[in-house]
Amino acid sequence: MSNVLVLVDHTAGTVRKTTAELLTIARRLGEPVAVFIGEGVQDALPALGQYGATKVIALTNPDLAQYLVAPKAEALQQVAAKVEPSAILISSNAEGKEIAARLAVKLESGLITDAVDVQEGGVTTQSVFAGNYTVQANVTHGTPIITVKPNAATPEVAETSPEVEEFDVTVSDAAKTARITDSKPRAATGRPELTEAAIIVSGGRGTGGDFGPIEAFADSLGAAVGASRAAVDSGWYPHAYQVGQTGKTVSPQLYVAAGISGAIQHRAGMQTSKTIVAINKDPEAPIFELVDFGVVGDLHKVLPTATEEVTKRKS
Protein backbone atom coordinates (compact mmCIF):
# COMPACT_ATOMS: atom_id res chain seq x y z
CA MET A 1 0.00 0.00 0.00
CA SER A 2 1.07 3.54 -0.62
CA ASN A 3 2.26 5.87 2.10
CA VAL A 4 0.13 8.77 3.28
CA LEU A 5 1.96 11.51 5.12
CA VAL A 6 0.31 12.98 8.20
CA LEU A 7 1.84 16.10 9.72
CA VAL A 8 1.54 15.69 13.49
CA ASP A 9 -0.09 18.58 15.32
CA HIS A 10 1.32 18.67 18.84
CA THR A 11 2.54 20.83 21.68
CA ALA A 12 5.89 19.58 23.04
CA GLY A 13 4.98 15.98 22.28
CA THR A 14 1.36 16.12 23.43
CA VAL A 15 -0.53 15.07 20.33
CA ARG A 16 -3.75 16.90 19.56
CA LYS A 17 -6.96 15.05 18.82
CA THR A 18 -6.90 16.31 15.24
CA THR A 19 -3.85 14.14 14.58
CA ALA A 20 -5.77 11.02 15.65
CA GLU A 21 -8.46 12.10 13.18
CA LEU A 22 -5.91 12.59 10.40
CA LEU A 23 -4.37 9.17 11.05
CA THR A 24 -7.83 7.60 10.95
CA ILE A 25 -8.53 9.28 7.60
CA ALA A 26 -5.06 8.37 6.29
CA ARG A 27 -5.84 4.67 6.80
CA ARG A 28 -8.65 4.99 4.26
CA LEU A 29 -6.11 6.15 1.69
CA GLY A 30 -3.03 4.02 2.47
CA GLU A 31 -0.47 3.46 5.21
CA PRO A 32 -0.15 6.44 7.55
CA VAL A 33 3.38 7.77 8.00
CA ALA A 34 3.51 10.45 10.70
CA VAL A 35 5.86 13.41 10.30
CA PHE A 36 6.81 14.85 13.65
CA ILE A 37 8.49 18.25 13.80
CA GLY A 38 10.20 19.43 16.99
CA GLU A 39 10.97 17.98 20.41
CA GLY A 40 9.07 15.23 22.20
CA VAL A 41 8.66 12.49 19.61
CA GLN A 42 9.04 9.75 22.25
CA ASP A 43 6.16 11.25 24.23
CA ALA A 44 4.03 11.33 21.11
CA LEU A 45 4.83 7.79 20.02
CA PRO A 46 2.10 5.94 21.98
CA ALA A 47 -0.63 8.20 20.65
CA LEU A 48 0.65 7.92 17.08
CA GLY A 49 0.85 4.13 17.34
CA GLN A 50 -2.60 3.91 18.87
CA TYR A 51 -4.16 5.39 15.75
CA GLY A 52 -2.20 3.38 13.22
CA ALA A 53 0.96 5.26 12.25
CA THR A 54 3.20 2.66 10.59
CA LYS A 55 6.26 4.84 10.85
CA VAL A 56 7.20 8.14 12.48
CA ILE A 57 9.62 10.45 10.73
CA ALA A 58 11.15 12.84 13.26
CA LEU A 59 12.57 16.21 12.24
CA THR A 60 14.47 18.02 14.98
CA ASN A 61 16.32 20.76 13.09
CA PRO A 62 15.94 23.81 15.42
CA ASP A 63 15.37 26.14 12.46
CA LEU A 64 11.99 24.47 12.03
CA ALA A 65 10.63 25.98 15.22
CA GLN A 66 12.03 29.48 15.03
CA TYR A 67 11.13 30.53 11.53
CA LEU A 68 7.40 29.96 11.06
CA VAL A 69 6.08 27.94 8.17
CA ALA A 70 8.52 28.27 5.26
CA PRO A 71 11.14 25.86 6.72
CA LYS A 72 8.42 23.34 7.60
CA ALA A 73 7.22 23.34 4.00
CA GLU A 74 10.80 22.79 2.83
CA ALA A 75 11.15 19.92 5.27
CA LEU A 76 7.96 18.26 4.10
CA GLN A 77 9.08 18.63 0.50
CA GLN A 78 12.26 16.72 1.37
CA VAL A 79 10.32 14.04 3.25
CA ALA A 80 7.91 13.72 0.33
CA ALA A 81 10.79 13.28 -2.11
CA LYS A 82 12.01 10.32 -0.06
CA VAL A 83 8.70 8.70 0.91
CA GLU A 84 6.82 9.40 -2.35
CA PRO A 85 3.45 9.56 -0.62
CA SER A 86 0.14 9.20 -2.43
CA ALA A 87 -1.36 12.02 -0.33
CA ILE A 88 -0.39 14.50 2.39
CA LEU A 89 -2.79 15.33 5.22
CA ILE A 90 -2.37 18.42 7.39
CA SER A 91 -4.55 19.96 10.12
CA SER A 92 -6.67 22.85 8.87
CA ASN A 93 -5.42 25.59 11.15
CA ALA A 94 -3.64 28.82 10.23
CA GLU A 95 -0.18 27.27 10.24
CA GLY A 96 -1.26 24.02 8.61
CA LYS A 97 -2.94 25.83 5.74
CA GLU A 98 0.12 27.96 5.06
CA ILE A 99 2.42 24.94 5.08
CA ALA A 100 0.03 23.20 2.70
CA ALA A 101 -0.11 26.26 0.43
CA ARG A 102 3.67 26.42 0.10
CA LEU A 103 3.94 22.69 -0.38
CA ALA A 104 1.38 22.78 -3.20
CA VAL A 105 3.53 25.26 -5.09
CA LYS A 106 6.74 23.33 -4.38
CA LEU A 107 5.35 19.93 -5.34
CA GLU A 108 3.19 21.30 -8.18
CA SER A 109 0.24 19.59 -6.59
CA GLY A 110 -3.42 20.32 -6.17
CA LEU A 111 -4.53 21.60 -2.77
CA ILE A 112 -7.85 21.20 -1.01
CA THR A 113 -8.38 23.01 2.28
CA ASP A 114 -10.90 22.67 5.10
CA ALA A 115 -12.12 19.18 4.26
CA VAL A 116 -14.84 17.97 6.64
CA ASP A 117 -14.54 14.44 5.27
CA VAL A 118 -12.19 12.48 3.03
CA GLN A 119 -13.38 9.24 1.49
CA GLU A 120 -11.47 6.27 0.21
CA GLY A 121 -10.09 7.33 -3.16
CA GLY A 122 -9.46 10.83 -1.90
CA VAL A 123 -12.76 12.56 -2.63
CA THR A 124 -13.15 15.35 -0.10
CA THR A 125 -16.21 17.08 1.29
CA GLN A 126 -16.17 20.77 2.12
CA SER A 127 -18.77 23.10 3.49
CA VAL A 128 -18.80 26.43 1.63
CA PHE A 129 -20.68 29.72 1.41
CA ALA A 130 -21.47 29.94 5.10
CA GLY A 131 -22.46 26.28 5.17
CA ASN A 132 -25.14 26.78 2.53
CA TYR A 133 -23.47 24.38 0.10
CA THR A 134 -21.62 21.11 0.34
CA VAL A 135 -18.91 20.56 -2.27
CA GLN A 136 -17.17 17.33 -3.18
CA ALA A 137 -13.82 17.66 -4.83
CA ASN A 138 -10.63 15.85 -5.61
CA VAL A 139 -7.07 16.61 -6.61
CA THR A 140 -6.27 15.86 -10.24
CA HIS A 141 -2.58 16.73 -10.41
CA GLY A 142 0.47 15.84 -8.36
CA THR A 143 0.36 14.57 -4.78
CA PRO A 144 -2.99 15.47 -3.23
CA ILE A 145 -2.46 17.87 -0.33
CA ILE A 146 -5.49 18.09 1.90
CA THR A 147 -6.02 20.14 5.03
CA VAL A 148 -8.65 18.60 7.27
CA LYS A 149 -10.85 20.39 9.79
CA PRO A 150 -11.23 19.19 13.38
CA ASN A 151 -14.02 16.64 13.94
CA ALA A 152 -13.83 15.43 10.30
CA ALA A 153 -13.56 11.85 11.54
CA THR A 154 -14.09 9.89 14.73
CA PRO A 155 -10.65 8.61 15.76
CA GLU A 156 -10.51 4.81 15.42
CA VAL A 157 -7.91 2.85 17.34
CA ALA A 158 -5.61 0.58 15.28
CA GLU A 159 -2.63 -0.32 17.44
CA THR A 160 0.78 -0.36 15.77
CA SER A 161 4.32 -0.06 17.09
CA PRO A 162 5.86 2.46 14.74
CA GLU A 163 9.59 2.94 14.49
CA VAL A 164 11.04 6.39 14.75
CA GLU A 165 13.26 7.44 11.91
CA GLU A 166 15.34 10.56 12.41
CA PHE A 167 15.45 12.53 9.20
CA ASP A 168 17.87 15.34 8.46
CA VAL A 169 16.44 18.25 6.59
CA THR A 170 18.21 21.28 5.23
CA VAL A 171 16.60 24.66 5.62
CA SER A 172 17.54 27.30 3.06
CA ASP A 173 18.41 30.87 4.07
CA ALA A 174 15.48 32.04 1.97
CA ALA A 175 13.10 30.20 4.28
CA LYS A 176 14.53 31.93 7.35
CA THR A 177 13.50 35.47 6.52
CA ALA A 178 10.41 35.78 8.73
CA ARG A 179 10.94 35.03 12.38
CA ILE A 180 9.13 34.92 15.68
CA THR A 181 10.78 37.45 17.98
CA ASP A 182 8.44 37.13 20.94
CA SER A 183 5.68 34.81 22.09
CA LYS A 184 3.26 35.38 24.93
CA PRO A 185 1.36 32.20 25.77
CA ARG A 186 -2.35 32.65 26.28
CA ALA A 187 -3.53 31.77 29.77
CA ALA A 188 -5.14 28.33 29.78
CA THR A 189 -8.88 28.41 30.47
CA GLY A 190 -9.22 24.74 31.37
CA ARG A 191 -12.03 24.52 28.80
CA PRO A 192 -11.95 22.40 25.65
CA GLU A 193 -10.36 23.83 22.50
CA LEU A 194 -13.03 25.72 20.56
CA THR A 195 -12.65 23.96 17.21
CA GLU A 196 -12.47 20.51 18.80
CA ALA A 197 -15.20 20.82 21.43
CA ALA A 198 -18.29 18.61 21.36
CA ILE A 199 -20.36 21.39 22.93
CA ILE A 200 -19.95 25.15 22.54
CA VAL A 201 -21.81 27.89 24.37
CA SER A 202 -21.44 31.29 22.70
CA GLY A 203 -22.43 34.76 23.78
CA GLY A 204 -23.19 37.85 21.75
CA ARG A 205 -24.48 41.39 22.03
CA GLY A 206 -27.27 40.21 24.32
CA THR A 207 -24.80 39.47 27.11
CA GLY A 208 -24.35 43.20 27.51
CA GLY A 209 -20.68 42.49 28.13
CA ASP A 210 -21.14 40.03 30.99
CA PHE A 211 -19.91 36.60 29.91
CA GLY A 212 -20.33 35.20 33.44
CA PRO A 213 -23.59 33.36 32.69
CA ILE A 214 -22.14 32.05 29.39
CA GLU A 215 -19.01 30.67 31.06
CA ALA A 216 -20.95 29.17 33.96
CA PHE A 217 -23.38 27.37 31.65
CA ALA A 218 -20.49 26.20 29.46
CA ASP A 219 -18.67 24.81 32.49
CA SER A 220 -21.77 22.97 33.69
CA LEU A 221 -21.87 21.21 30.30
CA GLY A 222 -18.10 20.76 29.95
CA ALA A 223 -18.29 23.03 26.91
CA ALA A 224 -16.03 25.52 25.17
CA VAL A 225 -16.95 29.21 25.16
CA GLY A 226 -17.38 31.17 21.95
CA ALA A 227 -18.32 34.74 21.10
CA SER A 228 -19.95 36.58 18.23
CA ARG A 229 -18.14 39.27 16.31
CA ALA A 230 -20.29 41.93 17.97
CA ALA A 231 -19.12 40.77 21.38
CA VAL A 232 -15.48 40.60 20.28
CA ASP A 233 -15.58 43.99 18.57
CA SER A 234 -17.03 45.45 21.77
CA GLY A 235 -13.99 44.14 23.62
CA TRP A 236 -16.05 41.79 25.79
CA TYR A 237 -14.26 38.59 24.81
CA PRO A 238 -10.90 37.83 23.12
CA HIS A 239 -10.80 37.42 19.34
CA ALA A 240 -9.37 33.91 19.67
CA TYR A 241 -12.86 32.80 20.73
CA GLN A 242 -14.76 34.43 17.88
CA VAL A 243 -17.05 32.09 15.98
CA GLY A 244 -17.90 33.22 12.48
CA GLN A 245 -16.57 34.01 9.07
CA THR A 246 -13.53 35.88 10.37
CA GLY A 247 -13.10 33.74 13.44
CA LYS A 248 -13.38 30.01 13.95
CA THR A 249 -15.64 27.74 11.95
CA VAL A 250 -17.05 25.16 14.30
CA SER A 251 -19.17 22.08 13.88
CA PRO A 252 -19.86 20.68 17.35
CA GLN A 253 -22.52 18.19 18.40
CA LEU A 254 -24.31 20.99 20.25
CA TYR A 255 -24.05 24.73 19.71
CA VAL A 256 -25.78 27.07 22.16
CA ALA A 257 -26.10 30.69 20.94
CA ALA A 258 -27.06 33.07 23.73
CA GLY A 259 -27.86 36.68 22.94
CA ILE A 260 -26.69 36.24 19.35
CA SER A 261 -28.98 37.49 16.58
CA GLY A 262 -27.53 35.20 13.91
CA ALA A 263 -26.09 37.53 11.27
CA ILE A 264 -24.56 35.88 8.18
CA GLN A 265 -21.08 36.54 9.62
CA HIS A 266 -21.91 34.35 12.62
CA ARG A 267 -23.92 31.72 10.77
CA ALA A 268 -20.94 31.12 8.50
CA GLY A 269 -19.05 29.84 11.51
CA MET A 270 -21.62 27.56 13.15
CA GLN A 271 -24.33 26.63 10.67
CA THR A 272 -23.07 23.06 10.27
CA SER A 273 -23.34 22.27 13.99
CA LYS A 274 -25.33 19.08 14.54
CA THR A 275 -27.78 20.50 17.09
CA ILE A 276 -28.39 24.22 17.54
CA VAL A 277 -30.03 25.87 20.54
CA ALA A 278 -30.61 29.61 20.92
CA ILE A 279 -31.68 31.90 23.70
CA ASN A 280 -32.65 35.40 22.58
CA LYS A 281 -35.02 38.12 23.77
CA ASP A 282 -36.03 38.97 20.21
CA PRO A 283 -38.47 36.39 18.77
CA GLU A 284 -37.66 37.73 15.29
CA ALA A 285 -33.90 37.07 15.59
CA PRO A 286 -32.71 35.17 12.49
CA ILE A 287 -30.87 32.67 14.71
CA PHE A 288 -34.27 31.06 15.44
CA GLU A 289 -34.46 29.98 11.78
CA LEU A 290 -31.57 27.61 12.44
CA VAL A 291 -32.45 26.15 15.80
CA ASP A 292 -33.59 22.74 16.90
CA PHE A 293 -34.66 24.33 20.14
CA GLY A 294 -35.07 27.97 21.00
CA VAL A 295 -36.01 29.96 24.07
CA VAL A 296 -37.40 33.45 23.60
CA GLY A 297 -36.23 35.05 26.80
CA ASP A 298 -33.51 36.88 28.68
CA LEU A 299 -30.29 34.88 28.84
CA HIS A 300 -29.50 36.50 32.19
CA LYS A 301 -32.57 34.78 33.63
CA VAL A 302 -32.61 31.55 31.63
CA LEU A 303 -28.94 30.56 31.77
CA PRO A 304 -28.29 30.82 35.54
CA THR A 305 -31.38 28.71 36.30
CA ALA A 306 -30.44 26.20 33.62
CA THR A 307 -26.85 26.06 34.93
CA GLU A 308 -28.15 25.25 38.41
CA GLU A 309 -30.43 22.54 37.07
CA VAL A 310 -27.71 20.95 34.89
CA THR A 311 -25.27 20.93 37.81
CA LYS A 312 -27.91 19.34 40.05
CA ARG A 313 -28.68 16.62 37.52
CA LYS A 314 -25.03 15.86 36.92
CA SER A 315 -24.06 15.57 40.58
Binding site: A130, K184, E193
Partner: protein
Protein backbone atom coordinates in the same frame (compact mmCIF):
# COMPACT_ATOMS: atom_id res chain seq x y z
CA UNK B 1 8.07 52.40 -1.42
CA UNK B 2 5.67 50.60 -3.68
CA UNK B 3 2.76 49.04 -1.82
CA UNK B 4 0.41 46.71 -3.67
CA UNK B 5 -2.82 45.46 -2.12
CA UNK B 6 -4.23 42.28 -3.63
CA UNK B 7 -7.99 42.67 -3.53
CA UNK B 8 -10.67 40.22 -4.57
CA UNK B 9 -14.08 40.80 -6.11
CA UNK B 10 -16.49 38.34 -4.48
CA UNK B 11 -20.19 37.51 -4.64
CA UNK B 12 -22.13 39.48 -2.05
CA UNK B 13 -22.54 37.24 1.00
CA UNK B 14 -25.85 38.86 1.89
CA UNK B 15 -27.29 38.07 -1.56
CA UNK B 16 -27.78 34.76 -3.32
CA UNK B 17 -24.44 33.03 -3.85
CA UNK B 18 -24.38 30.06 -6.20
CA UNK B 19 -22.39 27.81 -8.48
CA UNK B 20 -22.57 27.59 -12.27
CA UNK B 21 -24.22 24.29 -13.11
CA UNK B 22 -22.15 23.79 -16.30
CA UNK B 23 -18.74 23.66 -14.62
CA UNK B 24 -19.27 23.76 -10.83
CA UNK B 25 -17.38 27.04 -10.49
CA UNK B 26 -18.52 29.98 -8.35
CA UNK B 27 -20.89 32.19 -10.32
CA UNK B 28 -19.06 35.52 -10.28
CA UNK B 29 -20.59 37.17 -13.32
CA UNK B 30 -24.30 36.58 -12.79
CA UNK B 31 -24.61 37.75 -9.18
CA UNK B 32 -24.08 40.96 -7.25
CA UNK B 33 -20.48 41.33 -6.24
CA UNK B 34 -18.23 43.66 -4.32
CA UNK B 35 -14.77 44.09 -2.86
CA UNK B 36 -14.21 41.31 -0.31
CA UNK B 37 -14.85 42.93 3.07
CA UNK B 38 -11.68 41.40 4.49
CA UNK B 39 -9.57 43.17 1.85
CA UNK B 40 -10.73 46.55 3.18
CA UNK B 41 -8.50 45.91 6.20
CA UNK B 42 -5.55 45.36 3.85
CA UNK B 43 -6.27 48.58 1.98
CA UNK B 44 -6.58 50.48 5.26
CA UNK B 45 -3.22 49.05 6.39
CA UNK B 46 -1.57 50.13 3.14
CA UNK B 47 -3.00 53.65 3.37
CA UNK B 48 -1.94 53.95 7.02
CA UNK B 49 1.61 52.88 6.15
CA UNK B 50 1.71 55.40 3.33
CA UNK B 51 0.40 58.22 5.51
CA UNK B 52 2.85 57.43 8.32
CA UNK B 53 5.84 57.48 5.97
CA UNK B 54 7.93 60.64 6.00
CA UNK B 55 8.91 60.49 2.34
CA UNK B 56 6.34 61.40 -0.26
CA UNK B 57 7.27 58.68 -2.71
CA UNK B 58 5.10 55.87 -1.38
CA UNK B 59 2.27 54.78 -3.66
CA UNK B 60 -0.52 52.29 -3.08
CA UNK B 61 -1.74 50.18 -6.00
CA UNK B 62 -4.81 47.95 -5.90
CA UNK B 63 -4.33 44.70 -7.85
CA UNK B 64 -7.22 42.44 -8.71
CA UNK B 65 -7.70 39.37 -10.89
CA UNK B 66 -11.21 38.67 -12.08
CA UNK B 67 -13.96 39.22 -14.65
CA UNK B 68 -15.04 42.65 -15.99
CA UNK B 69 -17.11 43.40 -12.89
CA UNK B 70 -14.03 42.95 -10.70
CA UNK B 71 -13.06 46.49 -11.72
CA UNK B 72 -15.48 47.51 -8.95
CA UNK B 73 -13.06 46.13 -6.36
CA UNK B 74 -10.29 48.32 -7.74
CA UNK B 75 -12.61 51.31 -7.84
CA UNK B 76 -13.54 50.90 -4.17
CA UNK B 77 -9.85 50.81 -3.25
CA UNK B 78 -9.18 53.99 -5.22
CA UNK B 79 -12.14 55.67 -3.53
CA UNK B 80 -10.71 54.76 -0.15
CA UNK B 81 -7.49 56.51 -1.15
CA UNK B 82 -5.22 54.20 -3.16
CA UNK B 83 -3.26 55.84 -5.97
CA UNK B 84 -3.60 53.45 -8.88
CA UNK B 85 -5.18 50.19 -9.95
CA UNK B 86 -4.33 47.14 -12.02
CA UNK B 87 -7.00 44.74 -13.21
CA UNK B 88 -5.88 41.44 -14.69
CA UNK B 89 -8.73 40.24 -16.86
CA UNK B 90 -8.72 37.47 -19.44
CA UNK B 91 -11.39 34.97 -20.46
CA UNK B 92 -8.89 32.14 -19.98
CA UNK B 93 -8.63 32.88 -16.24
CA UNK B 94 -12.14 31.61 -15.47
CA UNK B 95 -12.05 28.52 -13.26
CA UNK B 96 -8.48 29.01 -12.02
CA UNK B 97 -7.73 27.31 -8.70
CA UNK B 98 -5.71 28.86 -5.88
CA UNK B 99 -2.40 27.62 -7.26
CA UNK B 100 -3.06 29.23 -10.67
CA UNK B 101 -4.40 32.42 -9.09
CA UNK B 102 -1.20 32.73 -7.08
CA UNK B 103 0.78 32.37 -10.33
CA UNK B 104 -1.12 35.23 -11.98
CA UNK B 105 -0.76 37.45 -8.90
CA UNK B 106 2.95 36.69 -8.59
CA UNK B 107 3.62 37.66 -12.20
CA UNK B 108 1.68 40.89 -11.78
CA UNK B 109 3.42 41.71 -8.47
CA UNK B 110 6.83 41.12 -10.05
CA UNK B 111 5.88 43.40 -12.94
CA UNK B 112 4.77 46.05 -10.46
CA UNK B 113 8.04 45.65 -8.52
CA UNK B 114 6.13 45.66 -5.23
CA UNK B 115 8.11 46.28 -2.04
CA UNK B 116 5.20 45.54 0.27
CA UNK B 117 2.39 43.21 -0.77
CA UNK B 118 -0.68 43.37 1.46
CA UNK B 119 -3.49 40.82 1.63
CA UNK B 120 -6.60 40.42 3.75
CA UNK B 121 -6.78 37.28 5.92
CA UNK B 122 -8.81 35.40 3.31
CA UNK B 123 -11.61 35.94 0.84
CA UNK B 124 -15.22 35.86 1.93
CA UNK B 125 -16.09 33.37 -0.84
CA UNK B 126 -13.42 30.69 -1.20
CA UNK B 127 -11.98 31.53 2.24
CA UNK B 128 -9.02 29.18 1.79
CA UNK B 129 -6.60 31.81 3.09
CA UNK B 130 -3.68 30.27 1.19
CA UNK B 131 -2.86 32.88 -1.46
CA UNK B 132 -0.45 35.00 0.66
CA UNK B 133 1.68 31.94 1.46
CA UNK B 134 1.64 30.80 -2.17
CA UNK B 135 2.63 34.22 -3.48
CA UNK B 136 5.40 34.44 -0.88
CA UNK B 137 6.61 31.02 -1.97
CA UNK B 138 6.60 31.94 -5.66
CA UNK B 139 8.29 35.32 -5.24
CA UNK B 140 10.78 34.06 -2.67
CA UNK B 141 9.74 36.83 -0.29
CA UNK B 142 9.25 36.55 3.48
CA UNK B 143 5.65 36.40 4.65
CA UNK B 144 4.28 37.76 7.91
CA UNK B 145 0.66 36.76 8.02
CA UNK B 146 -2.56 37.31 9.95
CA UNK B 147 -1.38 40.44 11.69
CA UNK B 148 -3.72 41.98 14.25
CA UNK B 149 -1.35 44.91 14.64
CA UNK B 150 1.16 46.11 12.07
CA UNK B 151 4.21 48.36 12.47
CA UNK B 152 6.50 49.34 9.63
CA UNK B 153 9.80 50.59 10.99
CA UNK B 154 12.22 51.46 8.18
CA UNK B 155 12.77 48.19 6.34
CA UNK B 156 11.31 46.05 9.14
CA UNK B 157 7.69 44.97 9.19
CA UNK B 158 6.50 43.71 12.56
CA UNK B 159 3.13 42.21 13.36
CA UNK B 160 1.32 40.83 16.36
CA UNK B 161 -0.49 37.63 15.57
CA UNK B 162 -3.07 36.43 18.06
CA UNK B 163 -3.00 32.67 17.68
CA UNK B 164 -4.93 29.97 19.50
CA UNK B 165 -2.30 29.32 22.12
CA UNK B 166 -0.11 32.42 22.09
CA UNK B 167 0.20 36.00 20.95
CA UNK B 168 3.32 36.17 18.80
CA UNK B 169 5.45 39.00 17.53
CA UNK B 170 6.67 38.23 14.03
CA UNK B 171 8.96 40.27 11.84
CA UNK B 172 10.56 40.34 8.45
CA UNK B 173 12.41 42.70 6.17
CA UNK B 174 11.12 44.39 3.01
CA UNK B 175 10.37 43.38 0.31
CA UNK B 176 7.75 41.24 1.98
CA UNK B 177 4.26 39.74 1.88
CA UNK B 178 1.90 40.82 4.66
CA UNK B 179 -1.61 39.70 5.53
CA UNK B 180 -3.82 41.36 8.10
CA UNK B 181 -6.80 40.17 10.10
CA UNK B 182 -10.04 42.03 10.66
CA UNK B 183 -8.64 43.07 14.04
CA UNK B 184 -5.90 45.16 12.45
CA UNK B 185 -7.84 48.40 12.02
CA UNK B 186 -11.14 50.05 11.23
CA UNK B 187 -11.33 50.54 7.44
CA UNK B 188 -12.27 54.05 6.35
CA UNK B 189 -15.32 54.83 4.26
CA UNK B 190 -14.70 56.57 0.94
CA UNK B 191 -15.30 60.30 1.33
CA UNK B 192 -17.17 62.31 -1.31
CA UNK B 193 -13.83 63.83 -2.26
CA UNK B 194 -12.31 60.37 -2.47
CA UNK B 195 -15.09 59.15 -4.73
CA UNK B 196 -14.65 62.10 -7.09
CA UNK B 197 -10.84 61.81 -7.07
CA UNK B 198 -10.99 58.07 -7.84
CA UNK B 199 -12.44 58.82 -11.27
CA UNK B 200 -9.18 60.43 -12.37
CA UNK B 201 -6.84 57.79 -10.97
CA UNK B 202 -5.03 55.50 -13.43
CA UNK B 203 -6.28 51.91 -13.83
CA UNK B 204 -4.41 49.57 -16.13
CA UNK B 205 -5.96 46.45 -17.60
CA UNK B 206 -3.60 43.56 -18.17
CA UNK B 207 -4.17 40.32 -20.06
CA UNK B 208 -2.36 37.02 -19.53
CA UNK B 209 -0.08 37.93 -22.44
CA UNK B 210 0.97 41.10 -20.61
CA UNK B 211 2.19 38.81 -17.80
CA UNK B 212 3.89 36.39 -20.19
CA UNK B 213 1.45 33.67 -19.22
CA UNK B 214 -0.37 31.36 -21.61
CA UNK B 215 -4.03 30.31 -21.31
CA UNK B 216 -2.84 26.71 -20.74
CA UNK B 217 -1.17 27.70 -17.45
CA UNK B 218 -4.39 28.89 -15.82
CA UNK B 219 -8.15 28.43 -15.91
CA UNK B 220 -10.49 25.56 -15.25
CA UNK B 221 -9.04 23.08 -17.73
CA UNK B 222 -5.61 23.17 -16.11
CA UNK B 223 -6.78 23.39 -12.49
CA UNK B 224 -5.17 20.80 -10.21
CA UNK B 225 -8.34 20.28 -8.28
CA UNK B 226 -11.79 19.46 -9.52
CA UNK B 227 -15.19 19.96 -7.95
CA UNK B 228 -17.19 16.84 -8.70
CA UNK B 229 -20.42 17.72 -6.99
CA UNK B 230 -22.16 20.72 -5.47
CA UNK B 231 -25.15 20.27 -3.21
CA UNK B 232 -27.22 23.03 -1.67
CA UNK B 233 -27.62 22.39 2.03
CA UNK B 234 -31.16 21.33 2.79
CA UNK B 235 -32.95 23.92 4.93
CA UNK B 236 -33.01 22.99 8.59
CA UNK B 237 -36.34 21.68 9.73
CA UNK B 238 -38.16 24.12 11.95
CA UNK B 239 -37.27 23.64 15.59
CA UNK B 240 -39.26 23.99 18.78
CA UNK B 241 -39.45 27.54 20.10
CA UNK B 242 -40.67 28.24 23.61
CA UNK B 243 -41.21 31.57 25.31
CA UNK B 244 -39.82 32.09 28.77
CA UNK B 245 -42.78 33.90 30.31
CA UNK B 246 -42.91 32.45 33.80
CA UNK B 247 -39.39 31.16 34.28
CA UNK B 248 -40.20 27.89 32.54
CA UNK B 249 -37.67 28.47 29.75
CA UNK B 250 -34.71 27.12 31.71
CA UNK B 251 -36.50 23.91 32.66
CA UNK B 252 -37.59 23.33 29.07
CA UNK B 253 -34.06 24.00 27.84
CA UNK B 254 -32.57 21.50 30.28
CA UNK B 255 -35.32 19.03 29.34
CA UNK B 256 -34.32 19.34 25.67
CA UNK B 257 -30.63 18.83 26.49
CA UNK B 258 -31.45 15.83 28.64
CA UNK B 259 -33.73 14.20 26.05
CA UNK B 260 -30.98 14.61 23.45
CA UNK B 261 -28.35 13.15 25.81
CA UNK B 262 -26.18 16.21 26.19
CA UNK B 263 -26.12 15.98 29.99
Amino acid sequence: MKIVVCAKFVPDATADRRFRSEDNTVDRAGVDGLLSELDEYAIETALTVKEAGDSGDTAVTILTVGPEQAADAVKKGLQMGADAGVHVVDDAIHGSDAVATSLILSKALAKLEADLVVFGMGSTDGSMGVIPAMVSERLGLPAVTLGSEVTVDGQTVRIRRDGDTASDTIEGTLPLVLSVSDQANEPRYPSFKGIMAAKKKPVETWSLADLELTPEQVGGSSAWTEVVEVTARPPRTAGTIVTDEDGSGAAELVGFLSTNKFL
